[in-house]
């Protein structure tokens, strides 16, 4: 075998010039697949960056009943849990991903009588889950997603006009007060990855950009927006705020897009004091609940605003032009430092040490790129709970129809994908890869067959000196595989290089892409070499028909 491989190697080097078609075809196929995989991952990472930063984790953990699968719904039995709508004030990050989130709440298969206050049964259940997940070495932090609903309150906005200052109010009903994830604090610790911190950038980029690509304009010079959570006004909340009742509010949820230039929060040097009506936390035995009949009013000082940058929505307005619109997640949330939020709960009546209102656990991993790979192991640590990765759910949510509002794009391109088939783009990509490799394989096979036919004497000599027919065929296969390997390396390298703009523009760092390098290479190499091996059977078969007597007739 060693001899056959050596012969194949020598032949592939010697015939490299005549086999460039094979190398190029395989390189193109490998490039396309690498780009599809790597850019896809980069895109997913980038798209998820805002959600990861905003929610404070890469993985969300919640009770299994909170998000019923189709299987759960179809197999509901009369004596078991029934479909139950959990009201929207029940604070949970699932509202951004849940396929069955309506204005009226979430569709769940929650147990009889609950939940009324928290996704977790009691403090012990939550602490055990946190401890079990936190014990995994791959986990950097577990942050409970704590939120309380706002029943009433008015936020003052100021409109500067030639006629003077006009004050208007925005209702805070439907908003949530949430404990700010540590990564979004203004004084977040050094251990916080840069991709999850508040982004210091232009808070008012243009709504959209159109580039005439036919004129040779470089996309990278016009598309410079970032992903993540950006500080858009005032100051962020910080650990140094202690347990003061301060908050920063999502600007996009309170100021209409077209009014961003004219309207702002009416805030003095210390921020705007907001009087908010919140439900009191009552207790019935050991069970906690929101007592809406006995609300409590608190004053929270809004010291700053944030915007959650979401993805760039792109569409071609015509031939030779491209438009991009920056989307934002209009999350109706006010973020408070954890100590302040704890004090708020105390004011609302939560006894010390009792279960806070937790909608899910946000798990931040040491390496976000390994999230999908880690899921089976993480699930085993808390088998009674369900979990999803933020990146994947973001992709699915986007595929169903973006949760973010789109203003600029024409109606017909906003929801180009069938809502019921979120996986279509992935499958289409895979199908495209198969087709491409089919073509590349045929090119390689054709090229190799031609080479075999022009080198009949050479193969006849091998047979004449005692090489068996299948051994000669194996030499050809090795030759094709080596040429394909060259194509694979070229294509993969160029494909990865093509991911650099994604790395630069998505602010996700190298980690997510480098982390998947090995897996991507495995997939691309498997596809390239598998395709080559399969299609090399054609030139191999040709060698079987070469007779030894052809060696007598002279050289090629």
């Amino acid at each position: 075998m060693k001899t056959l491989i050596y012969l194949g190697f020598v032949n592939s080097i010697r015939n490299l010039g005549r086999s460039l078609l094979t190398v190029v075809a395989m390189a193109m196929a490998a490039l396309m697949m690498t780009s599809s995989l790597t850019l896809g991952e980069g895109y997913t990472s980038g798209r998820a960056a805002e959600y990861r930063a905003f929610l404070g984790g890469d993985v969300l953990v919640y009770p299994t009943w909170a998000w019923p699968t189709e299987y759960d719904v179809v197999n509901l039995k009369p004596d078991q849990a029934k479909l139950r709508i959990i009201p929207p004030y029940f604070g949970s990050p699932l509202r951004y991903f849940h396929p069955d989130f309506y204005d009226g709440g979430y569709l769940t298969v929650a147990p009889e009588g609950g939940p009324t206050y928290s996704m977790f049964r009691d403090r012990t259940a939550m602490d055990e889950a946190v401890a079990a997940i936190q014990a995994r070495p791959e986990v950097a932090a577990v942050v409970p997603y704590q939120a309380v609903p706002v029943l009433a309150g008015e936020l003052n906005l100021v409109t500067e006009s030639p006629a003077g200052r006009i004050i208007s109010q925005v209702s805070m009903n439907g908003f949530s007060l949430r404990a700010c994830p540590p990564n979004l604090l203004g004084d977040a610790g050094q251990e916080t990855p840069s991709a999850l911190r508040l982004v210091e950038t232009n808070p008012n980029p243009p709504h959209s950009v159109m580039a005439v690509t036919a004129a040779g304009q470089d996309k990278s010079t016009v598309v410079t927006w970032e992903s993540g959570v950006v500080k858009s006004g005032g100051r962020p909340v910080a650990l140094t705020d202690g347990d003061a009742l301060v908050a920063m509010i999502n600007r996009r949820a309170v100021i209409p897009r077209d009014d961003l230039k004219s309207k702002s929060l009416a805030a003095g040097p210390g921020g705007q004091v907001l009087r908010l009506t919140l439900p009191r936390i009552g207790a019935s035995g050991s069970e906690l609940f929101y007592d809406f009949s006995n609300p409590v009013t608190v004053e929270v000082r809004v010291v700053g605003t944030y915007d959650v940058f979401s993805r760039l929505f792109a569409w071609p307005p015509g031939i030779g032009a491209m438009c991009w619109e920056q989307l934002y997640l209009g999350a109706p949330e006010l973020l408070m430092p954890e100590a302040g939020f704890a004090r708020l709960l105390e004011i609302m009546g939560l006894p010390p040490g009792q279960l806070p209102p937790v909608g899910a656990l946000a798990v931040r991993l040491q390496d976000q790129s390994k999230a999908e790979a880690l899921m089976p192991a993480l699930r085993q640590t808390v088998p009674d709970l369900s979990m999803v990765t933020v990146a994947k759910e973001t992709a699915f949510a986007n595929a169903r129809g973006l949760p973010e509002t789109i203003y600029e794009a024409p109606e017909n391109v906003r929801y180009a994908r069938p809502l019921s088939q979120p996986a279509v783009p992935v499958e289409a990509g895979n199908l495209f890869g198969v087709i491409l490799f089919g073509f590349a394989g045929l090119v390689a096979a054709g090229n190799a067959t031609l080479l075999v036919l022009t080198r009949r004497t050479e193969f006849a000599i091998l047979k004449a000196i005692g090489m068996r027919g299948y051994e000669v065929g194996l030499v050809v296969m090795v030759e094709v595989l080596l040429l394909s390997t060259l194509g694979l390396l070229l294509g993969f390298a160029v494909g990865e290089a093509g991911a650099i703009p994604i790395i630069l523009t998505n602010n996700v760092g190298l980690g997510p892409l480098l982390g998947t390098l090995e897996r991507d290479f495995g997939i691309v190499a498997g596809a390239t070499l598998g395709c080559s091996a399969l299609f090399s059977l054609i030139p191999m078969a040709k060698t079987l028909r070469i007779t030894v007597s052809e060696a007598m007739r002279g050289n090629e």
Partner: protein, 245 residues
């Protein structure tokens, strides 16, 4: 001359019995027509004849490269016509060394690798194959050219490499098809000398197909062919004043 000229009569190393090779070109064309012959171990046999007489076809039948339409070829006591393709491969690898008019070296390999290849195909360890190949190149006077590729060598040198390759697995018979046809007179003399030396010093059985009359001077036996038939079988060689049978 070879050992057959001096010693006892032994079983032939190569035997052809009623050998026919027929091509159908509208009518039956007999490239080889009912040829029977015995070649004894150590004999140096030259098969000569005009172009198209069927001598190369006969050689390919004797080497197990081609299959006869009818008749039998026995090499070292083993009938070739009943063997499968893989078995014939093994025979060619172990018992036959072929030398061609166009040298037929593998262009991508060095001289040393060309010679070592049949040895390695026999499953011999690489280090041994390369050492043995180097010895063989020394024997044909090309010890210093082992690292050169065929394109970097003259025709005579390439043919000498081909001879070394033919000797690689210590074959029972070396068969050469017009080995000097593409060579100048001096190189032809060199190749003749090597073949004669192999026959005389090692007792190597050699069958040469040629129309080069100079080669017949070295042979123990000269077989003349015309129209696929043996028309003369001069045992002892014409130069030695042998007898036509």
């Amino acid at each position: 001359m070879g050992s057959s000229g001096h010693g006892l009569r032994r079983d032939p190393i190569l035997r052809a019995e009623g050998l026919n090779k027929v091509y159908w070109m509208g009518t039956a064309v007999y490239a080889v027509d009912n040829i029977s012959l015995d070649i004894e171990e150590g004999q140096y046999v030259v098969i000569k004849g005009p172009s198209g007489s069927g001598k190369s076809t006969l050689l390919s039948l004797l080497a197990g490269v081609d299959r006869p339409t009818s008749g039998d070829v026995t090499l070292d006591g083993q009938s070739l016509v009943r063997l499968s393709e893989n078995e014939l491969c093994a025979i060619r690898r172990q018992k036959v060394g072929m030398i061609y008019q166009f040298f037929n070296l593998l262009p991508g390999l060095t001289a040393l690798e060309n010679v070592a290849l049949p040895i390695r195909l026999s499953g011999t360890p690489e280090w041994f194959a390369l050492r043995h190949a180097a010895n063989l190149l020394d024997r044909v006077g090309l010890g210093a050219r082992g690292r050169h590729r065929p394109a970097q060598m003259s025709g005579g040198e390439q043919q000498r490499v081909a001879i070394a390759r033919a000797l690689a697995n210590e074959p029972k018979v070396i068969m050469a098809d017009e080995p000097t046809a593409n060579l100048d007179s001096q190189t032809t003399r060199d190749i003749r000398a090597i073949l004669t030396e192999l026959n005389q010093d090692l007792g190597q059985t050699i069958v040469v197909v040629t129309h080069d009359t100079s080669l017949t001077e070295d042979a123990d036996r000269v077989i003349s062919i015309a129209d696929g038939r043996i028309v003369a079988d001069d045992v002892g060689g014409s130069a030695a004043g042998g007898q036509t049978v």
